[in-house]
Amino acid sequence: MELLAFGKTGWGDELFIATLMTIAVSITAMIIGFFFALIFTPLKLSKNKFFNFIGNSYTTVIRGVPELLVIYLFFFGGTGAVMYVASIFGYNEYIEINAFITGAFAIGIISGAYSTEVFRGAIQSIDKGQFEAAKTLGLNKFGQFFKIILPQTLRLAIPNLSNVWQITLKDTSLISVTGLVEIMRQSYIAAGSTRDPLFFYSFAAVLYLLLTFLSMKIINRLELKYSRGY
């Protein structure tokens, strides 16, 4: 137990901060994923073959390639890409990108592919009559989407989005390979310096279980809120 003490003698405070870091990366990645979903869901639903192809390629490639490989691409390629863009503008110094941003972006792209699929499914399962009814009410396109379609989409999407959240949360453990100090990395450091990997990795597992358990509780509440009246 003294291994988990707060302060200089134990690893409690470090692990606590690492847990906050995991939560922060997961939420950031989830939000980045939503942005990707916002772009690619319309593309996937588009009748235009070219747009459709782009949308499908995104979800197929990202969901068919291991997460770790995507992270390595961003980890090794991210700096190069940013420096290349900077060099066009005449800036030739070395730029180091923050591990948090690289990691959140890599996980965000993965999470976005799953979110896209969820939103596509949800929008497709909304009754056609709803779209027509929205039109008949004389709402403009914006109002049709935000007042009529989106609330219904959210209700249908939340159970599946909670799966995406669980996947995203667990995927953040992979960012530890880039050196970002989240739960997994902190456990690795602690295990290395105390020579007690069994304890620290088991404790990491407990922390992840706690996070998934708590987020399930919160999501269940949201689900109830959005399914009022059904």
């Binding site: 390639v65 291991p66 490989l69 390595y72 691409l73 992979l174 295990a191 279980l209």
Partner: protein
């Protein structure tokens, strides 16, 4: 674009893909048995047996695969007692540690898939079997299991693809699978995009094959 590097790295990556496939197939076979066992335990009426199976699947589905590999590879070696038993022969090999972690992980997901498949079997089918005078053991093996397997094919296909992606974590415990070799080439040549395209294509190709095999099986064993 460095085409030469892409062509030169292809044979290395392809032979590493064989290791990925080996990891995948061995852990899927073991995982299927674990999954079937725990699905049956989940349906058991004894509350302790039931809860035990539930906790198993909850823990393995609620924690990242990376933690599971690290506990087995780095953690179990710490237990002095284990080092003196024959298990140490297996546990000191990163290859077997990875397979144990993968099998336990996919076993947990498989047990959930099979359990829900068992639960969706219409009671009428079992009753029909009973009214024909078939013993409940034979009903289970000859009626329930085949129907459950057919029911769970689509979900299990997804699980195979997820597991194929999961095997990339073997590279974190020094196994040179497809991702491991890709990372090695990237870190020596600093050409991440080229290597990603080649390695990613191999993964996509494997996904494509798995997807179509499952589709074929679904059609072959469809009810009508």
């Amino acid at each position: 674009m460095d085409l030469e590097l892409m062509i030169n790295s292809l044979p290395k990556l392809l032979s590493a893909a064989l290791i990925t496939l080996k990891l995948l197939s061995v852990s899927l076979i073991i995982g299927l048995f674990i999954g079937l066992l725990f699905a049956i335990l989940r349906l058991n009426k004894n509350i302790f047996v039931n809860k035990f199976a539930y906790v198993y699947s909850y823990v393995f589905r609620g924690t990242p695969l990376l933690v599971q590999i690290f506990i087995i590879y780095f953690g179990l070696g710490q237990i002095e007692y284990l080092r003196s038993t024959f298990l140490w022969v297996i546990l000191k090999e990163p290859y077997w540690c990875a397979i144990i972690a993968f099998a336990l992980n996919t076993g947990a997901y498989t047990s959930e898939i099979l359990r829900s498949a068992f639960q969706t079997i219409k009671p009428g089918i079992i009753e029909a079997g009973r009214s024909l005078g078939i013993s409940s053991k034979i009903i289970f093996y000859k009626i329930q299991i085949p129907i459950a397997i057919r029911q769970s094919l689509p979900a299990y296909g997804n699980e195979i693809i997820l597991m194929m992606k999961g095997t990339s974590l073997a590279s974190t415990v020094t196994i040179m699978d497809l991702t491991g070799v890709a990372k090695y080439i990237i870190s020596t040549t600093f050409k991440p995009i080229e290597v990603f395209i080649v390695a990613g294509s191999i993964y996509l190709f494997m996904t494509f094959i798995i997807h179509n095999v499952i589709k074929f099986l679904e059609k072959k064993y469809s009810f009508n």
